[in-house]
Structure formats: structure tokens, C-alpha cells
Point group: C2
Chain length 112, copies 2
DNA sequence: ATAATATGTAACATTTGTGTTACACAAATA
DNA sequence: TATTTGTGTAACACAAATGTTACATATTAT
């Protein structure tokens, strides 16, 4: 597929790509060192890195003929923003539960 | 594909499925009410909901012939745990930057 | 009892995503 | 300069994901 059609969510849907991100959270790595650690072909990894780069999860520093890959926060932020929306939902759910319990408590008190 | 092969990351990779989750963060909805709001077919939505349910993003309450869908935190937690790993990375990066700046500061002080 | 409603699912076509091999090229090394 | 190293990408095959239509079934309403 055309790389332009990928978004952050699709980018992290692939286990290989998540493994690449995990590796880069330990150390910066040049393209081929990443590929060496996988059992799939170098071109496949090259493409995965391209996807992660295009979606803002990876920065690439050109150093002679090498391309050093490192994490870029932008991609992660997109996911986190989305998660934050639902975080708010769970917090409001807890509040509703809390209110419910308090109401019940006062009813129970009346019964006694 | 077999639903058993889906994981949380793949579950939220599809825009329709993310839209379903967004809807359910506003209100609980029966299966068909969800489908009504999309321009794709009801069976397609049925499958999306099945995926979200299997991966722990949705709970389903059977109510007569209706199946009421609502959010379930479990799926979101899986994503958040993964995000937390990288959150730690960014914090440690900030610390490194901080240490670097402090070291530089003391060098600059010596120069003066 | 019949009809309408709310669903599930199989079969199939199509689209999308991933992997491979083969080839190209620039930078570093001998 | 010739070779090796680090990389990109096109072409293709295959696998996986998504959508559709058609049909089945259980519950509710008439």
C-alpha cells in the first residue's frame, strides 16, 4: 500500500513495527542493525521503518552512508491524545459510581 | 480473518472501529443503532463489534433480542501499558537533557 | 399465528498489507 | 580504482482484512 495512507494507529498495528520501536527505546540503531535482529528480509524492515518515520514514530539521522533511527515523540502523542479522551470517560464513570454509592449509603442509613 | 488472531493494536487500527468506540464513549448503544450511523452494511459493523468485544474494548449486555454495547476498560489498558513504557523513555530523555544542560552550565561558568 | 425486529454468520469478491528477490547507487575501504 | 558496505525501491506473490449479499434464528408486537 501507499505509505501516505498509513496513520499512527495502523503504524503500531504491526508486531514487527512495535518490536522496532521497543528496540529503539533501548538504543539508537542504524537501519541494517535493526534488520539484523529480525528474521525477515532487510527490505521488509526498511519498509517498516519508512512507515514508522512517515507516521512520526521515528526520526532518522543521516550519517555518511548510514541512517541512524531513533524514537520521535510525535507519533506517540497522537495515540496518547486518543487514549486521553477515553481516560476522561473512565474517570467520569468512576464519579458516577461514587455518586451512586453515596446515594445508596444515605438510603441504607434511613433504613436503619 | 479469524477473530482469534486480532490483538488490541489491530483492533484500533481500523477507523470504523475507532469511530464505534468514540460513539460508545457518549452512550451505550444496541448493535443496530451503531450500524444505522454508518454507511457500511450492518454485517460489517457486526463484525467490527465482534472484534472490539474479543479484544476487550467492548462489553455486551443481552437484553431480550437486543445486544447493548458499552465500553470495557480492559482493551484500553493494554494500549496504555504499552504507551507507559515509552512515556518512561521520554522522561529519561528529558533527564539526560537536563543533566547535559547543567554540565554545560558549569563549563560556561568556568570560562567566565 | 403471523409479521416485524434485532440480530448472527457463511460465502464470496475486493482491497490492503506484508514479504521476497532482484537490482541500483552512493559512501567507505582496500 | 575496485570492492565492500549500507541503503532504497520496484515488481511480484501471497496473506490478511474488509465489505457485500443472502440466509438463518430468536424475540417481540399485532
Amino acid at each position: 500500500m501507499n505509505i501516505a495512507n498509513y496513520d499512527s494507529f495502523l503504524a503500531i498495528a504491526d508486531p514487527h513495527r512495535r518490536e522496532i520501536l521497543m528496540m529503539l527505546s533501548k538504543e539508537k540503531l542504524p537501519m541494517n542493525s535493526i534488520a539484523d535482529r529480525f528474521d525477515i528480509s532487510r527490505p521488509a524492515i526498511s519498509r517498516h521503518v519508512r512507515v514508522l518515520h512517515a507516521t512520526g514514530f521515528i526520526d532518522i539521522e543521516e550519517k555518511g552512508r548510514e541512517r541512524i533511527c531513533m524514537l520521535n515523540q510525535a507519533g506517540f502523542n497522537e495515540i496518547q491524545d486518543w487514549m486521553d479522551h477515553f481516560e476522561k470517560y473512565w474517570i467520569s464513570q468512576l464519579q458516577s459510581l461514587d455518586e451512586f454509592l453515596k446515594k445508596n449509603e444515605s438510603i441504607n442509613n434511613k433504613k436503619e
